[in-house]
Subunit: 148 residues, 2 copies
Amino acid sequence: MVQDSIQVLQTQGYKVTKPRRQVLAILNGAQRPLSPYDIQRLLRQQGKHLNHVTIYRILDLFCSLNLAHKLLSTGGFVKCVLGDKEGCHRFMVCHRCGTLQEFADEGLCQEENEFTRNFDFHTKYHLSESSGLCSNCYRKQHQKQGNA
Amino acid sequence: MVQDSIQVLQTQGYKVTKPRRQVLAILNGAQRPLSPYDIQRLLRQQGKHLNHVTIYRILDLFCSLNLAHKLLSTGGFVKCVLGDKEGCHRFMVCHRCGTLQEFADEGLCQEENEFTRNFDFHTKYHLSESSGLCSNCYRKQHQKQGNA
DNA sequence: ATCGTTGCAAAACCTTTGCACCAAT
DNA sequence: ATTGGTGCAAAGGTTTTGCAACGAT
């Protein structure tokens, strides 16, 4: 997974530096979106020190290469897991446990494009997040409250 | 338009103060998302002074009452123009001139819900922003570059 | 050796908090 | 008169900038 991203860096002419590898590793191991300072904190726990400015710049780069995404709802960063899959990359975010799943579907994109086309608007890309409950949390919720 | 919002404030038991009316007026006249400091600046140009903290608090309130929305991509605030219309409120944002249009469509919401249902995810609401070119900018773009 | 990257210091900017005062009801 | 709102001062957090030094190629 990290290896794929390193490939992208190389083929695009960007250097594969230690800081970039470290940020990749953190994003890869994360279960939730991380802020730049989150990343710095997690690295520090491993005895590694990265300047926050460096982290900002690396995240900018990763987002521009689609190696990472910035979530709309929280502003946190996550590693992209879809690679070059067609269609805009979207997220399901569980508002209970915070876990998140990335997905894409060209059909959805088309529907949205057609819809906005009625307003004479020419869509380039979509930012889209679905907020709700993941299967686990949905189950727990219903155990607690019985049925509601 | 502003009158409707004032109605909402009153019926919900919130006071209709001068600062709130001023912020409403600014949002109402704006063609693009505004930051709290943008609003302060615009008011100052009219010789009116509002503390930035006050503006933050007013915007928080407006968002909680759905009188305004905070755009997630840019962080700017816009007046809600859909009122209670069914379906999640979505935005088209022109990345050239910054103008924005709000819309909603229950069909889109359903499609997205059904799709995420395949992942055993239970969607509560959607966050969605379409980025592209408004009709004006699309035309200009094509005049400049001929055809591409 | 080179040029892209990083680290550092500093600044700018954004957002929040607590409390005293004010003003809409 | 009451109570919610506002202003102010201050603090805390986030993001950006410029430049010198470093290191991946």
